[in-house]
Amino acid sequence: MDIVVCGKIIPASTVTIEIDPATKRMIRKGVAHELDPAAASAVEEGLRLMEKVGGTLTLVTMGFNEITIGIRTALAMGATSAVHIFDDALAGSDTLATAKALAAAIGKRPFDLIICGTESSDSYSGIVPGQVARLLGVPPVTFATEMAVEGNTLTVKRQSESGYDVVEADLPALVTVTSGINEPRYPQLKGIMAAKRKEILQYSAADLGLAAGDVGEAGAREKVLEVGRPPRRDVGEVVEDDGEGGKRIADFLAEAKVI
């Protein structure tokens, strides 16, 4: 089975994110990056499937040079190869342009299953997987808390507001997995040493047949108008414990219908 994991390499959790006031975009150049935890869960799920049924796992991602370390993390975990879409012309792409680039890269090779995180842990749009599925003409199955493949059928336990649904789809398909689906493995030392010998295929916008006007700043249909800090939260109600504190908290929770 040929599995594609579509994931993002994001500024490392130790980096304090800064926004460029001119472009209103996150400053990504020159900061440490790591494999998005959401993507790591997707890689882990793909690896478990690959270890069971055999085949390949290719990470497909887009970004600057800084992201190589994150790509190598996926390779060190066990991905067989990676595709890195890298072109200055792609900077400032909105979600649709990103999806176009990813779909074009994925579509260059045959695939059976695409696995994504539900949303990236830096910008949280959660839109790209659905767009990629649409562009490739495969069914998107989202919010998987469990997944299995039997023959040509993908079965997914899908988290919903009231509980969960069990959904089936024929392959090829795209699935998004929630972060709780697994605990991603640490790369093994052998995997780390082997990662540098694995293939990272680089594509430019032109390689993917994307015209300059379709992608990047120029092709973006979304526009970020303003970026601001979240409003400060009020202190809330402070309960002084005069012996009745427990009861008052229980009443508060009951009122909020939490208990």
């Binding site: 790591e34 190589t68 370390i69 190598r72 993390t73 060190a76 493995r185 640490y186 790369p187 093994q188 030392l189 052998k190 995997g191 780390i192 040493m193 990662a195 540098k196």
Partner: protein, 384 residues
């Protein structure tokens, strides 16, 4: 000239950092009983390190180890030292520790000592220091005298770590007092249950460790237990001690890094007289000096390790690393303790532990003065 770590070592660093952040730091104040890791935590951590292939890092691949470069090992030591979860000395969580002297064994010796050690069936200790011969092995008085097919050992070794848990000792002995460290010292394997071996004292130290005193009293050992030829012991031992100095360096940069992380965070949180500490120049300078010195030490440690991996002699760099990095980390811990004020004195935080442990490192495995003495010798030799 490229100052970047190779990509695979960056990845190793990131992986171990994550392991330390996720597995060690959250339980670091509860997983030790004194200086020993509690068995349930040892089991838990070792299951992970085995799975990650971080097992027997320094053991060559031909002996089933990871065969990691010294630079790679330094990176692991530094990351792990960011947490106080693991014992700062002795048995860590990366499998049996094998001193390189054991690879110089002949096959028969390997069968009896090296392989059981690698299989974790036996534990070893390394006995060099004596009451009157610490950093000056030439003054060693524990003698081994050949008697037929045996050596008879007499003498006292002091401050020997893990001797009470060891099955055998690699003992440095004087086989020719007139030659001192120039061919008069040999390395011999002694089973700890030999009737001529007695642990006569355990010293309580401020770090919590209890190194032992071992007395050899007409201790008869087969001549076949000698590693290498008679008189080669000092040379064999030096190799380990050279790596040991870099281990100090790795640990020092890890401790300093975490201490600075803690100091900076606390300085931003703690408000005195209406302002966070971080806005006071006295505190800023402490952090700035610490960060600068950490940077210098990191480059020194990486460079010495890299040099070793190139097959070059890094002894001088090793001496400089030991004195500079150990003293740097103690200074940094001292400053960060000061930033924390009273909270830093409590045993709820790792700082007081580092303060005791890093201080001890200006003495153990080569006191700072001795390091300076040999560095000075090198400097003076250069400029006639």
């Amino acid at each position: 000239m490229d100052f970047e770590l190779p990509e695979e070592l960056q990845l190793l660093q990131e992986t171990v950092r994550k392991f330390v952040d996720q597995e060690l730091i959250p339980v670091e104040m509860e997983c030790r009983d004194g200086v020993k890791l509690k068995p349930e935590y040892r089991e838990r951590f070792e299951a992970k390190t085995r799975e990650m292939g971080l097992w027997m890092l320094d053991v060559p691949e031909e002996f089933g180890g990871a065969g990691l470069s010294l630079l790679g090992q330094v990176i692991v030591w530094a990351e792990v030292a960011r947490s106080v979860a693991l014992p700062s000395r002795g048995h860590s969580i990366f499998g049996p520790e094998v001193r390189p002297v054991l690879y110089a064994m002949n096959e028969e010796q390997k069968e009896r000592y090296l392989y059981p050690l690698l299989r974790e069936e036996k534990r070893a200790c390394f006995a060099q220091t004596e009451p009157d011969a610490g950093s000056d092995p030439g003054s060693m008085r524990t003698r081994a005298v050949r008697d037929g097919d045996e050596y008879v050992i007499n003498g006292v070794k002091r401050f020997i770590s893990d001797a009470d848990e060891a099955d055998f000792a690699q003992v440095m002995v004087a086989t020719d007092l007139s030659k001192g460290s120039h061919g008069g010292i040999s390395c011999i394997l002694v089973d700890m249950d030999n009737p001529g071996v007695k642990i006569t004292a355990k010293y309580k130290t401020m770090m919590g460790y209890e190194p032992c005193e071992i007395v050899f009293d007409d201790c008869r050992v087969p001549a076949a237990n000698m590693i290498g030829a008679e008189g080669e012991g000092f040379k064999l031992g030096q190799k380990w001690l050279g790596i040991g100095r870099l281990k100090h360096g790795g640990r020092a940069i890890g401790v300093a890094r975490r201490a600075i992380e803690m100091g900076a965070r606390y300085a931003k949180q703690r408000v005195t007289f209406g302002k966070p500490l971080a806005e006071r120049q006295a505190i800023q300078f402490k952090l700035a000096d610490s960060y600068t010195e950490l940077h210098a030490a990191t480059l020194m440690v990486y460079h010495a390790a890299w040099k070793y991996d190139q097959g070059e002699d890094m002894r001088n760099e090793g001496y400089m690393v030991k004195v500079f990095a150990d003293e740097m980390s103690f200074r940094v811990v001292d400053r960060v303790l000061q930033i924390h004020g009273g909270v830093g004195l409590t045993t709820d935080l790792p700082i007081e532990y580092w303060f005791r442990d890093q201080r001890s490192r200006l003495i153990t495995e080569g006191a700072s003065e001795v390091m300076r003495m040999v560095i000075a010798r090198h400097v003076l030799r250069q400029f006639d």
